[in-house]
Symmetry: C3
Subunit: 208 residues, 3 copies
């Protein structure tokens, strides 16, 4: 069961990599990092989550170290941002949000599916789906010496976990793996988009 990682779906995986790398590189520009910082943030934002997942499940070297196409895609996104930053920064909010939600959904479901392939228990596979989806963004924020945004606000990692849980539930119900993947991806995507549209947030503890 390799819901998204098969050859026929490689293009989707690389598309998600490109979107996340574009966002990482743009963040680097906003924080006045130099060309190397742009490349590094593109790389870690796009590939960091999958690398952590692969280290944790024992799939070493990680996919994006083994296959040069991932790094090349991230570099290409960094080059696009470096050359065309003004144009990239003018991409309207909604298309970018939609692409980002699509990338998050693909990464989370692919990550949870790969964890299952490596005999990780369902609970941890859901978590590793979340790590795949948001781990790169967490590393990006740490590199910028900021508390990761995903820990403070918004329904983002929660959408990744929800989609991964739907995938695993569907697989437990013996649905075909393609259908299970589609259901997982759609669940994550719809929750993320609705939450952004409705400004949903996770609850906090009222701290006195």
């Amino acid at each position: 069961m390799k819901p998204v990682s098969t050859t026929s779906l490689l293009v989707l995986d690389l598309a998600g990599t490109f979107v996340f790398a574009l966002e990482g590189a743009s963040t680097a520009v906003q924080h006045e990092l130099d060309l190397l910082g742009i490349v590094v943030l593109a790389f870690v934002t796009a590939l960091g989550g999958g690398i952590i997942r692969d280290l944790l499940i024992g799939s070493v070297p990680p996919n994006s170290i083994r296959d040069w196409r991932y790094a090349t895609t991230a570099f290409f996104a960094a080059a696009v941002v470096f050359a065309l930053h003004t144009q990239v920064s003018r991409i309207p909010f909604w298309p970018l949000l939609t692409l980002d939600a699509a990338g998050l959904s693909l990464f989370a479901i692919a990550g949870a599916g790969k964890a299952l392939d490596f005999n990780i228990s369902p609970l941890l596979a859901i978590l590793l789906g979340g790590v795949t989806g948001v781990g790169g963004g967490i590393i990006r924020d740490l590199f910028l010496a900021q508390v990761p945004a995903v820990l403070r606000t918004d329904i983002y990692a929660a959408a990744a976990l929800f989609g991964a849980a739907i995938l695993i539930l569907a697989l437990k119900l013996k649905l075909p793996s393609t259908l299970a993947s589609v259901l997982g991806i759609a669940s994550c995507f719809l929750l993320r988009m609705t939450a952004a549209l409705e400004h949903w947030n996770l609850p906090k503890v009222l701290n006195r």
Copy 2:
């Protein structure tokens, strides 16, 4: 030689996980993270040190990824803090310090013992005992964009290293492994408690 990781001692390991997760979750509340942030900080504070140790000694997937009971324990602690934060925040200082020192001691000695099982040299096994004890707290502080407290002040990591060193010395002296573990745990615990009671700190370099 598995001083703490055997089935009969699993409950101790999970108790340490619960205490550390409780502290991580409480810190998340203090920093106004949302529910996801509370869960993540509970998880990384409790399990991050052991995960780093396992990655470094080549025990992959790490114990807490392989066995769902660790993650479940961390989530349970996060739920307790989320539901009962006011009550948790009223736990007096001394019981909490004592439980934390006990958790530190168990983690450090279990970590050093596991490193030895994987044929790591005594010096590095001591270090990996320290990493097991304090690694989670370091990741928690990094996630909060703070210099890890353990690097600046207090006898905390030093107690973990001391306990791990006593364990390894006792094993070199051919003491039975259970006795060696008890000696290591007691050494770490007593040093930590005395240091907290007496406000001991490690020396600093007077920087001009």
Copy 3:
């Protein structure tokens, strides 16, 4: 092909470790960390890059966990800084810059060569050479809650990547591995020294 890691070149590797550990420990003193902080920053600055590389290529346990001489060298550097900080802080700028550039060059070329040994593709081997050279400094900066300097300014990581690229180009041209290593090391060293002398920086995107 093990350009720098063979027994006969171990002394060079340990010398690089010593220089980087000295810098990490000195930074810890400047930030008023305690003795444990000094030791930890010495260790991660000197050995962090190689540890990340080894985890990513699947060489586990990492070299510096397997061989106690690396940790011992880092501790010795920490002890030197702790005992003789005033004297160490008076080392003039140019000798320190030269030693640091030499350490960077050795680490980057050794890192790229080891990645090739583990069948990593040339592009990723260059990147892993860069990670070996600058990864430790990035972890040091993260521990100090700062944006890694290497992402913002200076030709530093770029020199590591350039040297690693020259090594791999030379190997592709079937040059003997010793000559390829020397060319890679010299390229990195000369670019780093020239950049420091001429105050070269990588370009940034003018962000409005």
